[in-house]
Each structure stands twice: as structure tokens, then as C-alpha cells.
């Protein structure tokens, strides 16, 4: 994680990054089980790398596999909440 990323985030540096403590982190890494979470604002820490998450997008849980490059971002950035609008012809007309 770049230290400047924390400084630029708008959050006080003395607080450090915001994160949620997942109690089952180690088991998840060993068993490769997905962690279901609604904590979209949780910062991805270096020890999350390799863990599979199921992140809530407001409707369902989307799979997110954490890689090294994602460190410092938030979990919610990877579970998109919006669908792109596509025009569908109405069936009954």
C-alpha cells in the first residue's frame, strides 16, 4: 500500500485506513472459502491478498478475488451497484 494513498484519501492519517476485522480471515485463506460481507467501505489490506470475498452490491453478493494490485482500494469498488441501461422491446403490445 502506498502511504500517500492514505494521506490523499481525505481521512486523518493518524486513524490509519478504515477496515473491518474479519474473524475468519485465516480459515478463509486456508480453505479458499469465500467471505460474505456487506462491508463495502472496508479498505483492502495487504493480508487480504488471495482471499475470495462475496461483496454485497445492494441486491446480491458478487465474487471478488483480491490481488496485490487491489491493496489500498475499497471492497465496494469491485462490486458494481449499477447495471448498464439496455433497451428491451416490450413483449406484449
Amino acid at each position: 500500500m502506498q502511504p500517500s494513498l492514505i494521506l490523499r484519501s481525505g481521512r486523518s492519517a493518524w486513524k490509519g485506513p478504515y477496515f473491518v476485522a474479519f474473524p475468519n480471515l485465516r480459515e478463509a485463506l486456508e480453505s479458499n472459502a469465500a467471505i460474505r460481507t456487506q462491508a463495502r467501505s472496508c479498505t483492502i489490506l495487504p493480508n487480504f491478498v488471495g482471499i475470495r470475498f462475496m461483496v454485497h452490491n445492494g441486491k446480491d453478493y458478487l465474487p471478488v478475488t483480491v490481488t496485490q494490485d487491489m491493496v489500498g482500494h475499497k471492497l465496494g469498488e469491485f462490486a458494481h451497484t449499477k447495471k448498464r441501461f439496455t433497451y428491451k422491446m416490450t413483449k406484449n403490445k
Partner: protein
């Protein structure tokens, strides 16, 4: 008209505003550049000396390898001269030590033009690669920070792309 590194600086403008013609140089950086090269605040581009223009060009060509600033400390109001018993060599060493003090040079990491554009492109490419929302919005040519898109959003439609040029 002065040409520096392929950028035209109009003669009639103040030097510190003309310098913002470089991509990656805003008012603050331009002011700092002027301070570094001892160009005064009201100096217009047409009155820059050839020496200042070459200095500016050589500095902007590679800010990271430019020779470090000479910092000469000034005596404050509470300055007391050392007694004559102190050897001159000690005074000299103390002065040189004071010259070396001071923070990091903020212009050392200055990036302009194509280098600055590459930084922007790299940041967008990083977002796109990790599959974040920001990268996705760039790829869709849409605003990134939650602005409305039903109308307007012209700037984003124009500029936001993975291989952004400006």
C-alpha cells in the same frame, strides 16, 4: 514569442502565467519555477533574458537531474556574531552545514507534458486492470464521481477513456 520544449509562450503575458501553458504546470508550480530562476513577479515573457530562457529550458527538460538549489541562510534579527576567538574554519563549517539544511526540493519530482500525461494514463490503466468502478466508468466514457449522466456529462464523454490523451 518564446519556444521552450515545443511550447509557445506568448510575449505579452506575465512569465508566471505563461508558464502554465505547459501541461502539468499550474499557477503554483509556475510561481515556484519563477522563484527558482529569479524571475520577478511582473516580468513579461518578452523581457526574459536569453540566459533565463536557456536556464528554464534546461531545468524543464529534466527537473530530476537539475543541480540542487543553493540555499544561503540569512541572519535573523536575533543573530549574535561569534566572538573573535572562534577560528574561521569553524565558522565556515557551521555556515556550510546551515546551507545544507532545508526541506526537499518540491520541483525535483516535477513532471510536465508527455511525462505528466503518462502518469494519468498509468493511473487509469491501473484502475481498469484491477476492475474497479473507476476503471469501468472510464471505459464507458462516463463521469467517474457520481455526476448526472441523463444530460450534460459532455466533458466526460469527450475525455474519459482508458487511453486518455488529455
Amino acid at each position: 514569442m518564446v519556444h521552450i520544449l515545443g511550447v509557445q509562450l506568448p510575449d505579452y503575458q506575465l512569465a508566471r502565467f505563461a508558464l502554465t501553458a505547459f501541461y502539468g504546470v499550474g499557477h503554483k508550480t509556475a510561481h515556484r519555477l519563477c522563484a527558482r530562476l529569479q524571475i520577478h513577479d511582473r516580468c513579461k515573457v518578452r523581457s526574459l533574458t536569453p540566459h533565463q530562457i536557456t536556464e528554464l529550458a534546461s531545468f524543464l527538460a529534466s527537473p530530476s537531474t537539475a543541480p540542487p538549489l543553493l540555499r544561503v541562510p540569512l541572519a535573523g534579527p536575533s543573530f549574535k556574531a561569534a566572538p573573535p576567538s572562534v577560528p574561521a574554519q569553524d565558522l565556515r563549517n557551521a555556515f556550510l552545514a546551515a546551507c545544507k539544511k532545508g526541506g526537499a526540493d518540491p520541483l525535483k519530482s516535477l513532471k510536465i507534458e508527455s511525462e505528466a500525461k503518462r502518469v494519468v494514463k498509468d493511473n487509469i490503466a491501473h484502475q481498469r486492470m484491477i476492475g474497479s468502478y473507476v476503471g469501468k466508468r472510464h471505459a464507458m466514457h462516463l463521469p467517474v464521481r457520481g455526476q448526472n449522466t441523463q444530460t450534460n456529462a459532455r466533458t466526460a464523454r469527450h475525455l474519459n477513456k482508458v487511453d486518455r490523451w488529455g
